[in-house]
C-alpha cells in the first residue's frame, strides 16, 4: 500500500468493525431504523452518505482554521445542507429520474448525526486527506450495518431481495410458502430494525470482549 500509510488504512478499516459508527458510537440510528425496510433503499442511502461524508469532511477540514468555535455547529450544518441542496438541484436539472429516487433521502442526510459527528470529532482537527479517509471509512461502516439490516428486514418481512421474490409467492403459496411459511410483517416496522441492530451489537461484542464497557 504505497498510497495509504498504516495509520491511514486504520482510518478506513476501524469504522467497519471495532469503531463502527452505528454499533459502537451509536450514531445515525434514526436513519438506520427509518429506511432499512428494503435493501435497495439501504444501498441508495449508503451511497448518498458516502458522497456527502467524503466531500463534507474535506470542506470542513479545509475551513477548520477559519471557523469560529462559537458557531462551529451552525457552520457545519450550513456546509452539509448546502452540499446536499446543490446535489439535489443539479440532479433535478440533469438527471430528473434519479433525483426523484433520492429526494426522500435529502432530509435524512442533512440530519444524519454521523455526518455532524465526524465533522465535529475529526474534520475540525485533521487535514483534508485524513478527513476524507475518515469520512469514507465511517460512511462504509454505516453502509455495512444498513445493508445487513436491510437484507434481513426485506427477506423476512417481504420475502424479497431488491424487490425480487426469493422465497416464492405468498399469495399463490409457492416455494417456501407452500409448506406454511409466512412473511413476518413486523419486520417491516421500525422497532424490528432496532432489534436487528441490537442483535448485531450483541454478536459483535460477544466476539470481541474488549468492546464491552464496564
Amino acid at each position: 500500500m504505497g498510497l495509504l500509510s498504516k495509520k491511514d488504512t486504520k482510518l478506513i478499516t476501524d469504522p467497519l468493525a471495532d469503531n463502527n459508527p452505528i454499533t459502537i458510537q451509536v450514531l445515525g440510528i434514526c436513519s438506520a431504523l427509518a429506511i432499512t425496510a428494503e435493501l435497495e433503499a439501504s444501498i441508495v442511502m449508503s451511497i448518498s452518505v458516502l458522497f456527502v461524508m467524503g466531500v463534507g469532511n474535506v470542506v470542513i477540514s479545509l475551513m477548520r482554521n477559519i471557523i469560529p468555535s462559537k458557531i462551529r455547529i451552525i457552520a457545519q450544518l450550513i456546509v452539509v445542507a448546502t452540499l446536499v441542496i446543490i446535489v439535489d438541484l443539479v440532479l433535478k436539472a440533469f438527471a430528473y429520474e434519479l433525483s426523484k429516487t433520492l429526494s426522500v433521502f435529502v432530509g435524512l442526510i442533512i440530519t444524519n448525526c454521523i455526518i455532524m459527528g465526524r465533522f465535529e470529532a475529526f474534520a475540525l482537527g485533521n487535514g483534508p486527506w485524513r478527513s476524507f479517509l475518515d469520512g469514507i471509512g465511517n460512511a462504509l461502516g454505516y453502509a455495512v450495518i444498513l445493508v445487513i439490516v436491510g437484507f434481513f428486514r426485506e427477506l423476512l418481512g417481504s420475502g424479497t431481495l431488491l424487490g425480487i421474490p426469493v422465497l416464492g409467492d405468498p399469495i399463490e403459496k409457492t416455494g417456501l410458502y407452500s409448506i406454511g411459511y409466512e412473511n413476518n410483517g413486523f419486520m417491516l416496522l421500525s422497532p424490528m430494525a432496532l432489534i436487528v441492530v441490537g442483535i448485531i451489537i450483541w454478536v459483535q461484542r460477544s466476539r470481541n470482549k474488549a468492546l464491552i464497557e464496564d
Binding site: 469560529p68 462559537k70 451552525i74 457552520a75 438541484l89 440533469f94 399469495i171 410483517g185 417491516l188
Partner: protein
C-alpha cells in the same frame, strides 16, 4: 490564531460572510437551473397523465414512464381534450371550458393547473378549477383522468386517476414528496397502483363512496372489484389513509360531471 477566531467581531463577520456566500451561491444555482427543472416537471406531468391512462413503458414488474422525448407527442395524440370545470366553494358548477377556451382565457395549459393552489382557494371560500383529461387508452376506450392531491405521513402525496364513464378506475398513478422509503414510498410501486384497476368508485346504488386503502382486507388478491377497497401496504398506514382521503375528497367533486355524461 485561537485569539483571532474567538473574537465576537470575527464570529459575526464570519457568520455574515458565510450566509452571503452560501445564499448567493444557492440563489444563483437555483435560478440558472430553473428553466431546466420546470421543463422536467412539465414533462413529468404529461408522463403521469399518460401513465394513468395506461400509456407507459411498464415491464413485467416495475412502473416505467413513457420516455421524455416521446411524452409530448404521445400526450397530443392520446389526450383529446382537457376540460376545466370551475366550481364555487359550495361545489356548484360555475362554468365548464374546453382546453382551447381555457387557454384563451389564461394562456396556460390545463394540465399545469396546480391542484394544491386550487384546494387552498376553495378552502378560503373561493373558486376551484377542476381539470379533467379526456382521452383514449391503449384499448381505444375513452377514459377521464383527474388529478388528486393530499398529504401522507411526512409530506405531500398526489396522483392521477383514470376512470371510465361509470367512474370505474382504469388506471392510477401515485407519487409522493417524502414518504418513508420501503414503506409509504411504495404507493408508487406497481403492486399497489395496479390494485386500483377495475375498482369501482361508486356503490351499487350509484352513490359516491371512493376507494379505501384497507388494512386486514379479506381480499388480498383484489378479486372483488366492487368492495371499494384495495389492500394496504404493511407499515404504511398513514400514507395509505392519505391516499384514501385524497381519492374521496377530490374525485367526489367530479361526480356531477359523470352524472351529466350519462343523461346526455
Amino acid at each position: 490564531m485561537e485569539n483571532r477566531t474567538d473574537k465576537n467581531s470575527y464570529t459575526i463577520i464570519f457568520a455574515i460572510a458565510m450566509v452571503l456566500v452560501v445564499g448567493s451561491l444557492l440563489a444563483f444555482l437555483a435560478s440558472s437551473l430553473k428553466p431546466r427543472i420546470s421543463e422536467n416537471q412539465r414533462l413529468e406531468k404529461q408522463q403521469n397523465i399518460l401513465y394513468a391512462m395506461g400509456i407507459n413503458d411498464n415491464d413485467e414488474t416495475s412502473a416505467v414512464f413513457i420516455s421524455t422525448d416521446k411524452a409530448p407527442e404521445a400526450f397530443n395524440a392520446n389526450v383529446d381534450d382537457q376540460i376545466v370545470i370551475t366550481i364555487d366553494a359550495n361545489g356548484k358548477v360555475l362554468k365548464k371550458q374546453t382546453r382551447d377556451e381555457y387557454f384563451e382565457e389564461t394562456k396556460q395549459e390545463p394540465y399545469l393547473i396546480d391542484v394544491k393552489k386550487q384546494q387552498a382557494s376553495a378552502k378560503n371560500g373561493g373558486e376551484r378549477k377542476l381539470p379533467l383529461f379526456v382521452g383514449k387508452n391503449k384499448e381505444g376506450k375513452t377514459v377521464y383522468v383527474a388529478p388528486i392531491y393530499g398529504k401522507g405521513l411526512w409530506d405531500a402525496i398526489w396522483g392521477y386517476v383514470a376512470m371510465d364513464e361509470n367512474m370505474v378506475v382504469q388506471g392510477a398513478y401515485f407519487d409522493h414528496k417524502g414518504e418513508t422509503p420501503g414503506l409509504g414510498a411504495n404507493i408508487k410501486q406497481r403492486y399497489f397502483m395496479d390494485d386500483f384497476y377495475g375498482e369501482h368508485l361508486l356503490t351499487e346504488n350509484g352513490a359516491f363512496k371512493g376507494i379505501t386503502v384497507a388494512k386486514g382486507n379479506a381480499d388480498p388478491k383484489n378479486k372483488d372489484k366492487t368492495d371499494n377497497e384495495v389492500d394496504a401496504i404493511a407499515g404504511a398506514t398513514i400514507t395509505g389513509d392519505g391516499v384514501s382521503a385524497m381519492i374521496k375528497s377530490d374525485l367526489k367533486l367530479y361526480k356531477p360531471y359523470f352524472d351529466n355524461l350519462k343523461t346526455k
